[in-house]
Amino acid sequence: MATPEVRTYRVEECVIETQPFYVPRADEVEVFAAAFRQRIPVLLKGPTGTGKTRFVEYMAWTLSQPLTKLTPQAPAGSRPAAAVRPLPMITISCHEDLTASDLVGRFLLDADGTRWVDGPLTRAVKAGGICYLDEIVEARKDTTVVIHPLTDHRRTLPIEKLGQVVEAADDFLLVVSYNPGYQSALKDLKHSTRQRFVALEFDFPELAQETRIIAHEAGTDEATAKRLATLGQKVRNLREHGLAEGVSTRMLVYAGRLIREGVSPKRACQVAVTWGVTDERETQRSIDEVVSSIFA
């Protein structure tokens, strides 16, 4: 009996090999590339499902291409436009219990005593590439301080327990994302942290762009994609009026994929959009009415 082949990678080897699908909104690709050349850390802001993670993947791929020429003449003295090797992309999802030692590393017990094990951040700093801390505000406060020396001229990561300081690899770039939320911001990024990044704002794409994205990602026909995009726009109008967040493009893509599988559009939108965005009965009904107006 053959065991199914499970592919595992070391984090340093996670290279984006095929071009991710990404529709640029404005000049964010050029700005990111410039920031990468100057090794300025980048902060991505925006609601969930607006393409932040996809953008980082796309940039990791783009910057790995040997012939990338994003600006025809890179100013003299700046680093080469493209990395000399495929850039690994290391994603760390932050959560409430993520401690500094989860990032940096810790001693583990071994048969012969204790053994130091690097955390993902340390590995990324050593290996280089793009290290992406997703939803940074979720992490505990002590973790955000750990990244401070990495984000300024020092470009180092101190490992207190080892008494060491690790210098970041030449092509190491820290990218963090966060979702400012629109109300009650009980969690907010400290100014001492946020003022270390150049910030790119993400918002929901325009109708035509979103149609393109849905058509591509869900593989639906143009008309269905357009209707889904329209639905997205309409539901987003309810932000601040019963909805904490607008419906993400991702949800619309899921709805599209269900439709492609033969689920009726109304039902697909109900499970992927209506029930996904809110638990409030009345708001659900309002959204259902919008769905039933748009979809036959």
């Binding site: 109300q183 309409k234 309002s286 107006s293």
Partner: protein, 657 residues
């Protein structure tokens, strides 16, 4: 149902819009005289409170009718029925220089209608072409609704009454209206009119194009007008009667809607960009006199007086939407008392003066408010005990959560990946596990949590009269047993106070109300360092709705109290049921921004001095002003009052840990 439609319309419109009953509009006497027709004033969609009998008998269910009505009305917003611009429709200027179309004081619609010798005919035709355009857009864009919408159109078409003794123009308008409802052109028409009818339906069909604008509808109306009245013989119109309206399309009043919407939008403009009052009055008079859009109600009064009353009502309604002229530019004397700008003096014990921020002048009014602080007289009731009894389970749950926080404070945290020292129990277990051949856990450390809570919180409670409103809006507010907003607030406070005993944080409870700037009242229910005595419990029971809401001075006073407290982390927790409101302080809707800005300044000032303000609003429309008031400060809007008892402790925990 209203709420469902409200959100439905908001979603479709993509701009600020609310749904209300037609009755509200009729009550204001603004020229909308009929209760039974849906309409839109540019920011609000009014729907009839119930369906006429003949529709109740139709095959469509009631909700479907409402949805069709709402979609048509909101379609006017979505596809810009009120965005008509004369200059865009007629870039070359005016065709007939004798007509008053060039008067810049006239609004866009008035200039358009002034092009015609018979503006009423033009109006009716424009209403038809525009409604047809909206119908086409709805049918194209909402395929899901299309079958229902189409059935509604057919129903309305079938219900049209045959005209008796109609003039040629009346017949033509009626015919155009039916064509706009989808009646085929081939339907019986007198032979001589067939050619005109065919031409007209071709003209109308232009509006089916996906990008046709409101200006296109105006041009089509112009062409129809030419077909209807080839000569400018005014005498022939003397007895012209407008056609009976189509139910789902309702009353289309573009001129009024435009005025209201612009007034609403100009709230965000700076004074020089706002339309001035004289100009507006002129537009209104013109509108009332000529447009027939504003119908004077049937009454004994002579026409002129009725019209004048209408103009005044409209002005009032419009200025309620727009913000006040900043007091600095005011010619003075608009406020009730003359000594309005005098600084006050706090002479009596227990009184304090506070400055107030004047957003119009961008500076403080010195010592403008007099605040009276007094301890609330304890009530002789057992509200505290009764609440704990009635909500025993909830009280217990909240208390346990708080105990858990307290417990975390001075306990060793065991079995951690990392810590001060080895957790011996864990090490022994790990060794045993390894000898047994199991995988040992690597959580071998413990950490002493030396965190000390150093938190002081002041709760500032809105005791304005509106907190006496019943939670369930339909309930009778005077009936015994009706749950009022303040009741829920009191219960929440009791539950929180009970739970806070477990934590030991110093906290104060203050209520505020007042009437006018000279009498801002701050009721002390519990001072920051006062223990939760029987007396305090009875004071909580004495919290009752009082008069108005002047938030600024109350916040400033509480800030002072917090500043005097040595705690490292200080929080000001504002609990309110609505926007700030008091005499001369946002008392008419016009000066709401003044109150909102003053409150914001008070909160910002507290923030600058190291106090974290947090505002919890129980107000469904809270976002409209809280966004301005709080901006980057923290706040939350509670959709449902019933959530308050649970949410308040949650927020307290989230905020202070």
């Amino acid at each position: 149902m209203l709420h469902v439609l409200d959100n439905y319309c908001r979603a479709l419109a993509g701009r600020q819009v609310t749904v209300a009953s037609c009755e509200k509009l009729v009550d204001k006497n603004l020229g909308w005289a009929r209760t039974q027709l849906p309409t839109c004033d540019g920011t609000t969609i009014y729907l009839p409170p119930n369906l006429p009998d003949e529709l109740q008998a139709s095959e469509l269910p009631g909700f479907a009718w409402y949805k069709v009505m709402a979609t048509h009305q909101v379609g006017q917003l979505e596809w810009g029925s009120f965005d008509f611009q004369y200059a865009r429709a007629y870039p070359q200027g005016h065709a007939n220089p004798e007509l008053p179309t060039s008067d810049p004081a006239l609004a866009d619609y008035a200039r358009f209608f002034a092009r015609f010798p018979q503006p009423r005919l033009a109006r009716d035709l424009f209403a038809i072409t525009e409604a047809f355009r909206i119908d086409c857009r709805v049918l194209d864009n909402y395929p899901g609704l299309a079958p229902t919408y189409q059935r509604a159109r057919e129903h309305c078409l079938a219900e049209r009454v045959q005209l008796v003794r109609a003039s040629a123009q009346e017949s033509f308008v009626e015919w155009a209206l039916r064509a706009s409802l989808g009646q085929p052109a081939s339907v019986v028409a007198p032979a001589i009119h067939v050619r005109v009818a065919e031409q007209a339906s071709q003209v109308l069909a232009q509006l089916r194009a996906a990008h046709s604008s409101v200006e296109a509808a105006a041009h089509v109306a112009t062409e129809l007008y030419r077909l209807a009245a080839p000569t400018a013989d005014v005498a022939a119109f003397a007895h012209y009667r407008s056609p009976v309206g189509v139910f789902y399309r309702g009353a289309f009043k573009p001129e009024l809607a435009r005025l209201f919407r612009d007034a609403h939008d100009s709230e965000n403009l700076r004074p020089p960009e706002r339309p001035n009052n004289l100009e507006r009055r002129k537009q209104l008079q013109e509108l009332v006199r000529h447009s027939h859009e504003a119908e004077t109600p049937d009454s004994e009064l002579p026409e002129e007086i009725a019209q004048q009353a209408l103009v005044e009502n409209l002005e009032d309604a419009l200025s309620q939407r727009a913000p006040p002229p900043p007091p600095g530019h005011d010619s003075g004397g608009s406020d009730e008392d003359q000594d309005n700008n005098d600084a006050l003096e706090a002479t009596d014990p227990g009184t304090f003066t506070y400055d107030e921020w004047d957003a119009g002048r961008q500076r403080y009014r010195k010592a403008f408010c007099l605040l009276h602080e007094a301890t609330l007289v304890a009530a002789d009731n057992d509200l505290y005990a009764a609440t704990l009894r009635d909500h025993a389970a909830l009280a217990e749950r909240i208390r346990r959560h708080f105990e858990a926080i307290a417990a975390q404070l001075d306990r060793k945290q065991m079995r951690l990946h990392d810590g001060d020292d080895l957790d011996l129990d864990a090490v022994v277990e790990a060794v045993v596990d390894r000898k047994c051949g199991h995988t040992p856990s690597d959580k071998l450390f413990f950490r002493r949590n030396k965190q000390e809570r150093d938190v002081a919180v002041a709760f500032l409670l809105d005791m304005s009269s509106s907190t006496g409103d019943p939670v369930d809006r339909k309930a009778d507010r005077y009936a015994t047993g009706t749950q009022r907003l303040i009741d829920v607030e009191r219960q929440s406070l009791v539950l929180l106070a009970h739970a806070l005993q477990a934590l030991g944080d110093p906290y104060g409870i203050y209520g505020f109300s007042g009437y006018g700037r000279k009498r801002v009242e701050l009721h002390v229910i519990k001072e920051l360092n006062e223990p939760l005595s029987a007396n305090v419990k009875q004071r909580i029971g004495a919290i009752e709705p009082q008069s108005a809401t002047r938030m600024g001075p109350a916040i400033r006073h509480t800030t002072q109290k917090l500043l005097a407290h040595p705690a490292r982390h200080r929080y000001l927790f504002l609990l309110s049921d609505g926007r700030p409101q008091d005499q001369g302080y946002g008392d008419h809707a016009a000066s709401q921004l003044y109150a909102v800005h003053d409150t914001r300044m008070a909160l910002l000032d507290a923030h600058r001095r190291g106090i974290t303000p947090f505002c919890l609003a129980i107000d469904k429309s809270g976002h409209d002003y809280l966004g301005t008031m709080m901006q980057d400060l923290r706040y939350e809007v509670l959709w449902d009052v019933a959530m308050l008892p649970e949410r308040l402790p949650d927020l307290y925990r989230a905020l202070t840990t």
